[in-house]
Symmetry: D2
Subunit: 338 residues, 4 copies
């Protein structure tokens, strides 16, 4: 195989990012089909992506389209059955996070992946492919900071996007399921261990609508890991300055910190108020390169029979931890994670 | 009164800092007497500070020395009775933190302060007088970041000083009593509320001696506050790069962050490995100005009948929280703070 | 036209960057032919880029290949005639900087461009397409810093690449022609005026080989512009920490500064010596995105009949200024630029 | 001698800084007398500094006051004769910069200093005593950046103070004499060599009043040094963000850069526009510590017979260079400095 022909399912905001990357920016990839239940998204596929092969029925795309792989960017609750169906019809699968919305779904996806050991399955934890995060991982693996024993992670969506989060609050599963999954994955990845206990709390000071939806606009969680390491995670939805993802990995011989200032670019403005660093405004802006790089890895794995860096088990584990965090948050008690 | 004549008790590392400030750098202050049970420290007082009036007996200094005020910089367990004795003999008192090593002691000090409403009592939470922290407080009070709802605080001693901490581990009361009291005070100060629950954990990856002393080299704690705010505190003893105190106060309209990089000064070195910012090496170096400013405030309060910004109750409250944190750490359970 | 079919001339280090972008990362572009006098480069074109249509004779490529445009990445002294030949054979042209190695060549290229007003010509001043520089330009055009009146520009190659520069020193035309052309272009672009006088000097403290070749390892130049603005340019070849490009544009109401620390990425390492920001190692690493973006602009101009942001006159002007700078450097006198 | 009794001449803005330091913050120093032609300043001396011994006649203070040393903080044109008179009456002298307003004056001061080799004379180049600058010097002397071969210096007064500069423009001697003397001294100090040629230019885009006074609001100068090193100096009067002093010393093995962002303190504000670092507002704020440290050094030299780090020759040399810079600026020609 010298071309990986891909069908995409879902062409929302992030689906469009993946679709454009597959269509125009990745060597060895070809966007051959698109599937969506939103007619405008299929129009987009035709006019903007040049994809003539469009479907409103996912199973039909699997059955008919001339594709080697599927890129799943649908709503979270559809991920697992779509992963399973694609694998069972012999397609490689790239799926956006989260793997599933509950553990039963995740286990079902795991089983499907295990049934098809010859097919590539990769989960979209794109932060691992960001050049700063992958560089940090390399430094850490090289021993530069000794043994990592604590991760402090922050992920705050911009205030400018809060109305969408408010509308979605009742169906999001709560702030930890909705927002903390990437941070949880990073903690596991950097600490190379699994979380065994979590304590969590939330706060809402700006938008009472979150409280009304039994959600919170800010969440904080503290984790103990099996190897004795610790993690502190802070997620939120109301950063006035933009999209703030920051991570600090602390080891016995040093610390790596990524993005204490979530700078938009390398320009600083010395103005009447002082020296200003403008900030990135959204996750597609911040992780533009990472979305491309992860898809290049997926295509490389399909074409060359490699194993992706992110497995289906990473999806299950992070989901399990997010659920335990949610329980800790709701009950106000520390929760064991088996 | 146009001069505040001060007797100092304790001339260890920090005692010397206070003594030099009182003796040479503060308008309106005069260092008239010194007391220590260490003969070398009294020699130091004579030769370096020009204090001829030296005592090995604290009560004798109170009785005989021609002083208006006492500066208590002795070991923590002596603070409370020395505060009480000084107040009862009519002296104004500046005391180093912590107020006391247990709550009973703190209450005793509170009672003494309340018995002498006309005498100045001030506790040495010097971080509040650091120019960056006091600036942050002013910004926050001006409404610049809206309502503060989360504090993330870090305080890590340098690895270079770890052997002293190891020797002291069995008598320190544990890492939270020993190290977190300043951070706890800052959380209360910035959030303007009291902690009501704490969850905590420790980790030791580098120096097993801490574990052997039933202590830890790193501590992490998460707090809920009465007004719904949250705090995360990280303390440690093994920063390879120096003394790291960092604080982030997050509000509904913005965040103030102090010292993400604990820079030694304004010089950056562009060398073979990259661009290096060297770090402050110790708390006296980091808070040199703050130690001076807090003592200026104390002297100003004594001379002009003002009330200091830090009260005896700040001492009791922070000690109570540190005790609850220690209990949470030891039991592995979230602990209510009444 | 819905595809721009491109033939590339020159597949050295930078040629490979352009070729990969054209072949794999740009919508609407197709790499149809390659030309090089180095057989290994043609092998590379076949095996790595999938280009079967390869030539060792540039004119033959123009005559035979099924291409709409040519991308010229050959050695500087070939640029002008290749630009002219391509335009005269009806091809659009993207050429790497410098436009030519002397003003006569540049004028010849200008004439060719003027003969073919319907063909796109674009010069590779890629810094203008870097996201930080283009952002700065937008800020400035929006009036954010008032009227720009001074530019301070720095461009230093990494010490790690100095041996190549030493070997090339005798044929480089000297440090200002070799290194300052991008900085000169930026000054003109940001100040929106033309340089009228230059004073310059060089220094060599590390590699006497440069002196032996009548060159210098460091150059400094100061410019007056027609509108009264000033510029200071510092170029060098021996940055121990990596590739350092920094630019400061100072206006009546503020300053924009790009890349005071030439950070490799967003990770900072807190290690035994302090807090370290590692630096970018080379121009392809630093301007990876800019090379892509400028080629996207070129392709967009070809396909949609737009005018590129960089014209042939920008090439002539910057070359004229670099020559005057060289004269100032060699004579030690301020030189008028007509 | 165990106390250095000092009389101060001049109690303007900077005089008050020195007077307070001498009176209250320096061990071994005593402020015994004050002299000013401004009656309010003498009132200030009495009420705020507790100095009863005040004079409106400088020579009378020298003759009558019980002082060991004089601190000269009068207007620039008075410095030299006051230095000479003080030395000739057997007093040690600390003088603010500049040494004199022309070279003849400087030579006269040099002669006076040479007549009294047993008396301490020190010039107030306080930047050398700033902790970042003195740290940089130590790093450089230790070989950390190899051989320094270029200095890039920036000194810009805040726009908020521009009206005072406009009023003073006709009598300031021009921007280079008025503003560049500290930067010139730093170049000499860091490069350990003397300037031999200068080219300079000015620009005025905001306040035409400067042009009307035959002055400029911005100045740029480029220097060649005797050892082959180079320097670029940028001075100005209109920084919107505050007081900006920045210096970069570039060596064969690295660079030290001081204060690329002239931060007010360690707090950063993450607000609606991005991440803001507020800036220092004035030279007394920026160099508060340096003014104290230099005076401590002066007192230490007087009391202990040491030689200060800044000599009278540093004053003459920097003045000579400032004059040559002014000539280059006025004539538009490169000027040799003998």
């Amino acid at each position: 195989m010298d071309k990986c022909r891909i069908g995409i399912a879902g062409l929302g905001r992030l689906g469009k990012v993946h679709a454009r990357n597959i269509a125009f920016r990745i060597r060895g990839a070809e966007l051959k089909a698109a599937c969506s239940i939103v007619p405008e998204e299929l129009d987009f596929a035709k006019s903007e992506l040049g994809v003539t092969n469009v479907y409103s029925d996912y199973r039909k795309m699997l059955a008919e389209a001339d594709i080697d792989a599927v890129c799943v960017v649908t709503t979270s609750k559809e991920h697992c059955w779509q992963i399973e169906a694609a694998l069972d019809s012999g397609k490689h699968v790239f799926s956006e996070k989260p793997l599933g919305v509950d553990l039963a779904q995740c286990k079902q996806a795991e089983a499907a992946v295990e049934r098809h050991p010859d097919l590539t399955f990769m989960l979209g934890f794109m932060r691992r492919y960001d050049k700063s995060y992958s560089y940090a991982k390399k430094l850490i693996d090289s021993g530069r900071i000794g043994t990592p024993y604590m991760v402090k992670a922050t992920g705050i969506d911009p205030e400018s996007a809060v109305q969408g989060a408010i509308r979605f609050a009742k169906n999001s599963g709560g702030i930890f399921l909705d927002m903390a999954i990437h941070d949880i994955d990073l903690c596991r990845w950097f600490l190379n261990s699994e979380a065994v206990e979590v304590y969590a709390a939330g706060a809402t000071f700006k938008h009472p609508e979150f409280k009304e939806a039994y959600d919170d606009e800010t969440g904080a969680a503290m984790y103990r890991f099996a190897n004795g390491a610790l993690a502190m995670v802070h997620v939120g939805r109301t950063a006035p300055y933009g999209y703030h993802v920051e991570t600090e990995i602390i080891g016995t011989e040093g610390t790596v910190r990524i993005s204490a200032v979530p700078a938009k670019n390398l320009a600083e403005v010395y103005g009447h108020d002082g020296v200003l660093t403008e900030c990135v405004g959204s996750f597609p802006e911040r992780f533009d390169d990472a979305y491309l790089t992860e898809m290049e890895e997926f295509v490389d794995c399909v074409l060359n029979g490699k194993k992706p860096g992110v497995s289906v088990y990473d999806g299950t584990k992070s989901t399990a931890i997010a659920y335990a965090t949610t329980e800790a948050w709701k009950t106000g008690k520390a929760v064991r994670i088996e």
